[in-house]
Symmetry: C2
Subunit: 133 residues, 2 copies
Amino acid sequence: MAISSMILSLSATEAIAANASPMVRIAEIEVDPDQLAAYKAILAEEQEASVRLEPGVLMLHSVAIAAQPNQIRLLEVYADRAAYEAHIRSSHFVKYKTSTERMVRSLKLIETTPILLCAKAAADSKSLVPTCR
Amino acid sequence: MAISSMILSLSATEAIAANASPMVRIAEIEVDPDQLAAYKAILAEEQEASVRLEPGVLMLHSVAIAAQPNQIRLLEVYADRAAYEAHIRSSHFVKYKTSTERMVRSLKLIETTPILLCAKAAADSKSLVPTCR
């Protein structure tokens, strides 16, 4: 299992190095205000599991619009379309989808073309290293 | 100069560790289609410089909407409001703002509250390490 994860992880890295086409999307989600806290907890759990367990899930960033807190926006970055297809079959995604079905009032998925994705990441506990892809 | 950067970098790391409140924003930008290639090049240069040079600029992700390529969306993450105020005074941001003034048809800044920001980052050339903040 550990070896298999490592092989998958190397493949994802190599895909990026080879400039494989990442799939980048914005999700616009309106949530029932009465179920917002529960929704956010389930979403965060799903994001954490997806980025930790799936080699091809490169980023999942979620925010709530300050003036309309039940309007959620996600920026989703997958190594390629195959990584996305694998993601929607994962047990943690299926759990998220099933658990939040009655909390989500509307969902709009917007396909995008990445221009540049830049972030600092902690290379150790004391420094942040900038990388762009 | 190197020492000063290191001190600033440590401060940014400590601010995150101490759970200082990051400022997270979505920018919705409509660009003159005739000037789109030039705009994207200037934007990418500004993003790269900001994340590399400014300790408090944690992420700058830019995408174009696939069906409307002159509609640009940015997810901007600053360590705190002071980091953002410093950013808009930086020479690379002022250069971006001045150079693109006649390319941008409209700009909408949407304040958000982060739920969870998760990404894999390359800890070395061969592996991607997941982190959420």
